[in-house]
């Protein structure tokens, strides 16, 4: 009978994934609890805390966490879909404001790409220069 095999069926791999997901959810919960009074999204605080934890540990990422985060992040585009469909609610707004929106998308993105590349190139040159001086 299948159910008798459950002990052997639960491979370490599956528990590893579960541990990783539980860890991610715990950090999200912690972030949400602290972000309650702050103007920062809870999951972002959770990410910051998780990064700090990993950084202070100074060891390779545990397998459970690596497994869970890789599986979630490899499907990241799918996770935007339900929210993206919500744009249908804003059909009238987009019809009325398509020009400023399109201009902000195109020229804003061009401006950011050019200006950040310039700032990075300049600060990197200064930084390497000052360290070799």
């Amino acid at each position: 009978m299948a159910w008798k095999n459950t002990k052997t069926c639960v491979e370490p791999m599956e528990m590893t994934f579960l541990h990783g997901i539980a860890l991610l959810l715990s950090y999200e919960l912690l972030g949400e609890a602290i972000a309650f009074h702050l103007p920062i999204p809870g999951p972002v605080l959770g990410m910051a805390f998780l990064f700090l934890t990993l950084w202070l540990r100074r060891q390779p990422v545990p397998e459970s966490l690596a497994t869970a985060s890789t599986s979630l992040l490899s499907h990241l585009p799918l996770l935007f879909v339900p929210a993206g469909v919500g744009v249908m609610v804003h059909g009238d707004r987009i019809a009325a404001e398509w020009l400023p929106v399109l201009a902000a998308l195109i020229f804003g993105t061009l401006f950011v790409a050019i200006s950040t590349a310039a700032v990075m190139a300049a600060t990197k040159a200064l930084w390497t220069q000052s360290r070799h001086a």
Partner: protein, 245 residues
């Protein structure tokens, strides 16, 4: 089967979250296979195609978005843990950050502010409403974080989600050419700029150029999400308080 039976099955199914969840996954699978068959053409980004498919389906069946979202929310919910999971690739690149921490931090800090306010300013000058301007502010930030910021500042998170995807597609399509025209050959510089301007979609493009550009782009994307979430809501709230917005 008599038509009334079909209709009653439809009424029954459309009221359950199962239908919304299932069509979300099916639409994405179809969109993704189209994307792979078109050799990952940037204009066939699976998010755009599956969103378009689903909107067409909901419009034809006259299903309100709220009914669909009862099922869609199960996918949407995973954005939270996925945001937390971004800490993992960020940590894996910490060695690269160490030698260049100063230029990276300065550039990402500048980029978070420049990106937020340039898009708001352009939209404002061309007459966009305040809600639209606020929805545009986090457009270059990775989607789960951008939606959180949008909600915080009083924008429309679902509009922001669509704008983020469009920004990523545009940035990924033009970025490499722009850096070439600027005469920039350094992969760390190109990667940082790409990650700030076009988040994850730009990062995927950067990895096609080189592993180094991809790693720096991923680093810039994660740091920019942190900086933007820390800076934008406060800065925008302050401007609103001053009566400037």
């Amino acid at each position: 089967m008599p038509e009334s039976d079909l209709a009653s099955i439809w009424v029954y199914l459309s009221a359950s979250p199962l239908l919304g969840l299932t069509v979300t996954l099916l639409a994405y699978i179809a969109a993704h296979s189209l994307y792979v068959r078109a050799r990952q053409h940037p204009l066939l980004n699976p998010v755009i195609t599956s969103v378009a498919l689903l909107i067409a389906l909901l419009s034809v069946t006259r299903t309100p978005y709220g009914t669909y979202f009862q099922g869609g929310q199960y996918v949407h919910f995973l954005l939270g843990p996925a945001t937390v999971a971004l800490a993992v690739p960020l940590y894996q690149q910490v060695a690269k950050l160490k030698s260049l921490w100063f230029p990276v931090v300065v550039t990402v800090g500048f980029g978070a502010i420049a990106s937020g306010f340039s898009s708001m300013a352009i939209a404002r000058v061309l007459g966009a409403s305040l809600e639209t301007q606020l929805s545009l502010a986090p457009k270059a930030v990775t989607a789960p974080v951008a939606m959180g910021i949008s909600e915080q500042v009083g924008g429309l998170p679902s509009l922001t989600a669509a704008l983020v995807v469009l920004t990523g597609i545009f940035g990924a399509a033009i970025g490499v050419k722009v850096f070439e025209l600027m005469g920039i050959a350094d992969d760390s510089v190109k990667g940082i700029a790409m990650g700030i301007a076009a988040h994850g979609i730009g990062t995927a493009r950067a990895f096609q150029v080189s592993a180094e550009m991809g790693a720096f782009s991923g680093l810039a994307m994660a740091l920019s999400a942190l900086f933007s979430a820390a800076i934008l809501p406060g800065a925008i709230g302050w401007l609103i308080g001053l009566g400037w917005l």
